[in-house]
Symmetry: C2
Subunit: 240 residues, 2 copies
Amino acid sequence: MTVLSIRPGGGPAQPLINLLSSLSPLSDTDATMVRERLGEPRNHPSAAEIRFEEGHGERPLMVAAGWAAEVSLLEDGRRQIVSLHLPGDIIDPAEVRRMNLSAYALTSVRTQDANRVVAAATSDDPACAALAKAWRLHRHMVQARLVRHIIRLGRLTAYDRITDFLGELHDRQRRAGMADHRSLSLPMTQEALADHLGLSIVHVNRTLQQLRRDSLIDYQGGRVMVRDPAGFAASLGRTG
Amino acid sequence: MTVLSIRPGGGPAQPLINLLSSLSPLSDTDATMVRERLGEPRNHPSAAEIRFEEGHGERPLMVAAGWAAEVSLLEDGRRQIVSLHLPGDIIDPAEVRRMNLSAYALTSVRTQDANRVVAAATSDDPACAALAKAWRLHRHMVQARLVRHIIRLGRLTAYDRITDFLGELHDRQRRAGMADHRSLSLPMTQEALADHLGLSIVHVNRTLQQLRRDSLIDYQGGRVMVRDPAGFAASLGRTG
DNA sequence: CGGGACCTTGATTATCTTCAATGCTAGTGG
DNA sequence: CCACTAGCATTGAAGATAATCAAGGTCCCG
């Protein structure tokens, strides 16, 4: 991990740059390329749907601040949050549409048009080679998260689902330079948590309390403190 | 759907050709291109792991006959079948390795090296344009299946999971020209079904019986007859 | 005929959901 | 400043869904 490049205060593009360079080293030139290619910011109020038909086609959006989610709404009103977008993540509208999902702001969200960034990252211009490599690894990571979520939902208990999920969030936030060794932010309601983890609100609430009672975490005000990193990692039903 | 191209007896490549042309029309030339680029067949006994280190790197394999699965093994012996490979599907060893999965033969399986097919389908040679388009759509479909499976596991009951899953299998087999309007093959044990759908064997067994009692399906000898296509589709907790 | 893999069944228990309140806190308007 | 409201978190009780445990049963194959 290129520690040097992790500068949380480096502007709205910094989480994305940190994220990419945590996968494959980027030069300052690469970082600048990302920064300069981001488009105008846009704000989405909490709980609003994030729509994409903004004039010229379906452009990828980078989440600059706040959390968003890709959601499947079922006929009976149930919903499944398929994936989450944290600062630094990029939402691909074409994919959202193809999968029959919708995107929602879980908190107040600020996005920026990332069309030109994605274009650079997927071009075969040698000047973008480092960016392209990091981007490929990033895509792989995104896909691996889907697979991991299938394993979570299919074979882990509520307790392990939450632990495993918090572990994933911690890793993601650290890569983006947005969390320290011991804590992570969790600015989503227990209802959203339930809809992501395939559980009821009530059960999420009780399981979180259990985690607190077991002294694995503290949780309040949208922030999780990892009290026992060892026990935390150990309690995961790990894949082999 | 290009009905003309669906010829179940057209050799081992036919399922793949049917599958691709169900997504985007292929000419006879395209079909020939696929057929001629397939490598030597290889047999995998039922329940064996499908390994890839065969001399020259990790080459994609097309399933020519039988069913395979990508599996995650958990420490405690539980397992999750993340995805299934039916005839016509292509297994990407690089992906299996990246996701920390392993591939197993659920039945006796015959595969063929599909490296040159994938190369053609992902090239930008204009001669492969039709193939490339179908391939892109196919990749999208594969990804959509992962998302759909997340929704199944997260928000559907055992009964609906099985119904929805059978619906998916029916669609896949029809695209490959390997099933008619009313029936599909299901050559996997109830244990494998359980490991895919995140349920216990016993519960899968009882739920299948419930489906039979409700006259939605008949099920015996690895074959499912769809008795009530309307009720079948209606019972699905559909995404919107 | 014996063994093994798979399917089926009953009984019991655990996990998780649902329903129905009750708190808590922050923002709002009087 | 103080009700008042809305959204979220929490709690208890009851019930449904699914897992586990422990046998049998069936079928195929050597």
